[in-house]
């Protein structure tokens, strides 16, 4: 009962005690301590090197000596506009767009099922199934696809067993996207990209759909909307931020990849391969930098359009 002895504000003492008191009185100090290192990392290492890249792209290469001329010029960018280089840009952007749209279409039902219906262990199984491919080496998976898609591969074998070989042959005889075999055509590259990036599309859509309460779908139905209308007016707009987030992954990952199209596909270059070639054997760093700027600009334009279309309104 001797309450006189105990202080109402007992001191904790020590350096740590004083430090936590300081943080209590000046929360800004704690915030600065927490944010300082990562901000330094992003600022110097990340943004800094990106700026260095930008600067490089405004240099040019002396075509006789092969030396880099460190003078500001648009020469490299003008070279980028040459038909052979523009082809590479166009090919890559089209591939990225096709992969993005297709993976969104495939991912949506899977994500919808996982968000609305899967519970308990089924949901755990869903996450494992989606992420499992990410646990194995990217190279292994791409080479596996090369074997699957090869003329002597398991896909052709299976297709021939059910008598659908003419279908594959018809597909391969198509101009541009066809080729000598699936493993050496754009179709093959497309399939590999689709497989590689699908998890990055499923997960954000699933997360977005998870946040749509069931009562909202009930309400739409209650107000007279058929399932198709509810999808267009409610589910799709509310899932759009997730689709956009997923498409940022699939789009930029396809734009920058240089290994998959090297292993599976025709011999024609994608942006990533062009960067690789220019900075490596060709030693044309300014050109490599200019190519690297393309995905950044394309993504910026893409996000700007997405924002204009209200994709982030439901965030």
């Amino acid at each position: 009962m001797n309450t006189r002895d105990a202080s109402v504000t007992p001191a904790r003492g020590g350096v740590w005690g004083r430090l936590s008191d300081l943080f209590y009185r000046r929360p800004a100090i704690l915030l600065a301590l927490l944010l300082g290192p990562p901000l330094f990392w992003i600022g110097v290492v990340y943004v800094g090197s990106l700026l260095a890249l930008l600067v490089q792209s405004f240099y040019s290469i002396d075509e006789f000596s092969g030396r880099i001329v460190r003078e500001f010029t648009f020469k490299t960018y003008l070279e980028l506009l040459r038909p052979s280089n523009l082809d590479i840009v166009l090919r890559t952007v089209l591939m990225a767009a096709t992969v993005t749209v297709t993976s969104a279409i495939i991912a949506f039902p899977i994500a919808y099922y996982a968000a609305r219906y899967a519970r308990g262990w089924v949901k755990a199984l869903f996450f494992i199934a989606v992420m499992l491919p990410l646990w194995s080496s990217y190279l292994v998976r791409v080479y596996a696809w090369k074997l699957i898609l090869a003329n002597e591969g398991v896909l052709n074998w299976g297709v021939s067993k059910v008598g659908l070989s003419p279908l594959i042959e018809a597909l391969l005889s198509l101009p541009v996207i066809g080729g000598p075999s699936l493993a050496f055509s754009y179709i093959g590259t497309f399939l590999v990209f689709l497989y590689l990036w699908l998890p990055f599309m499923i997960l954000p859509i699933q997360a977005a759909l998870e946040r749509v309460p069931v009562s909202m779908l009930d309400a739409s139905s209650d107000l007279g909307a058929r399932p198709g209308q509810t999808f267009r007016k409610i589910i799709f707009p509310l899932a759009l931020p997730g689709i956009v987030a997923g498409s940022i992954f699939t789009f930029s990952l396809t734009l920058g990849d240089y290994i998959a199209p090297q292993i599976v596909g025709s011999s024609r270059l994608f942006i990533g391969q062009a960067v690789y070639v220019h900075q490596g054997t060709a030693g044309n760093l300014p050109m490599a930098a200019a190519f690297s700027m393309v995905p950044i600009v394309v993504m910026a334009i893409y996000l700007w359009i997405a924002k204009r279309m209200g994709a982030f309104n439901a965030l």
Binding site: P213, S215, M216, D218, A219, S220, S221, D222, L223, G224, A225, R226, Q229, K233, I234, P237, L238, N313, A314
Partner: protein
């Protein structure tokens, strides 16, 4: 419309008025031995209910008693595992929600976050292909009805709970539903707002003449708003009647206890205090403090007990009296003599105020 005004003016007679007309006017909503079982859980079990046209019908019960599932069955969000539901005489078995002219006000309001207030309200019209101008005109009109005109272009996120509730109400009412279903409509509002909305909902319903069916776990809300109340317990309807019926003449121990608090007088206790044998419900406000020794008045019961607790509640004072092995709750006006805890007190009630219940 004529019939509606009659029903609303005399809610206590509503049952008789419409039952005499049942042949020509089908019930607004009728459930015939409807069950909804989720595997072993009998959410709704063998429920028979009739809601008359123009009625303000309350479904009251503790959480998990099946009242919300019942509402969802009428709306079409769930399908009964057995039994039949009819709305204005039409069987709705297998009919999806979007083909029922019934609208719902959801407990969480379920406003669409990517649309502003007016687009939320006009959603039903947009779905039906009404033009943009006409949509806006009607939406503004309906928002005026729920007194929310100045918030037309706001986003749902910028509104308070009470305002969101009005938007949800307007969104449902704009479709002129035959029956409006309200799932715990006032549950998320604070007391003052809740009392205000009770009055507004009631007058709105009178004005529009639409049948309202609402779900609540709040007995005072059910009593004050409904023309008739169905009390739910464990998936079953245990009693249906006017608020006066339910409160004054509870048929079971559960109803007596859940709707207002009640003293349950067990047969053994009755014997010891000289009351007629049986299972009785006795409301706390029917028991009065009485001067000792004047117990010869006919038709009354007098008992003496020890005061256990006294609670001051503003207008009333609640007091618990221990009489032999039973505790009696009393509610008395807060004016007058205050019983003292630990002292004995003498109380009296009239035999007429004891209401007999089914022995369970």
């Amino acid at each position: 419309m004529q019939q509606n005004t009659v029903l609303i003016a005399m809610p206590e007679n509503a049952r008789q008025v419409s039952s005499s007309q049942e042949a020509s006017f089908p019930a607004a909503v009728s459930l015939a031995s409807v069950s909804r079982h989720f595997d072993a859980v009998k959410a709704v079990d063998q429920v028979d209910l009739t809601v008359h046209e123009g009625e303000f019908f309350g479904m009251l019960g503790p959480s998990g008693s099946g009242k919300t599932t019942c509402l969802r069955l009428v709306a079409g969000f769930e399908q009964p595992t057995a039994g039949h539901i009819a709305i204005f005489g039409e069987q709705v078995d297998g009919i999806p929600p979007y083909r029922r002219s019934v609208n719902t006000v959801f407990q969480d309001y379920a406003l669409f976050p990517h649309m502003n207030v007016v687009d939320n309200v006009a959603y039903g019209l947009m779905i039906r292909g009404v033009g943009k101008k006409e949509r806006r005109r009607q939406a503004e009109e309906t928002l005026e009805l729920v007194r929310l005109s100045e918030f037309v272009d706001r986003e749902p996120g910028q509104l308070s709970g009470g305002q969101r509730q009005r938007v949800a109400l307007a969104r449902a009412l704009i479709n002129r539903p035959k029956v409006l279903l309200l799932d715990e409509p006032l549950g998320a509002l604070d007391l003052k707002l809740r009392e205000q909305m009770q009055v507004e909902l009631k007058s709105l319903q009178r004005e529009l003449g639409i049948t309202f069916v609402f779900v609540t776990h709040d007995q005072s809300e059910a009593l004050s708003m409904s023309d008739r109340v169905a009390v739910f317990n464990q998936g079953r309807v245990v009693q249906v009647g006017t608020p006066v019926d339910i409160y004054e003449r509870p048929e079971t121990r559960f109803v007596a206890d859940f709707v207002g608090s009640s003293n349950i007088l067990e047969p053994a206790f009755c014997e010891r205090i000289g009351a007629p044998s049986g299972l009785w419900s006795l409301r706390p406000e029917k028991i009065r403090l009485a001067p000792e020794g004047l117990s010869d008045e006919a038709g009354t019961i007098d008992v003496t007990g020890e005061v256990r607790h006294v609670q001051y509640q503003g207008a009333t004072r609640r007091c618990v009296l221990a009489v032999k092995d039973t505790e009696l709750a009393l509610a008395m006006p807060a004016v007058g003599v205050e019983p003292v805890v630990g002292r004995t007190a003498h109380v009296r009630w009239r035999l007429d105020d004891m209401h007999g219940m089914k022995q369970v």
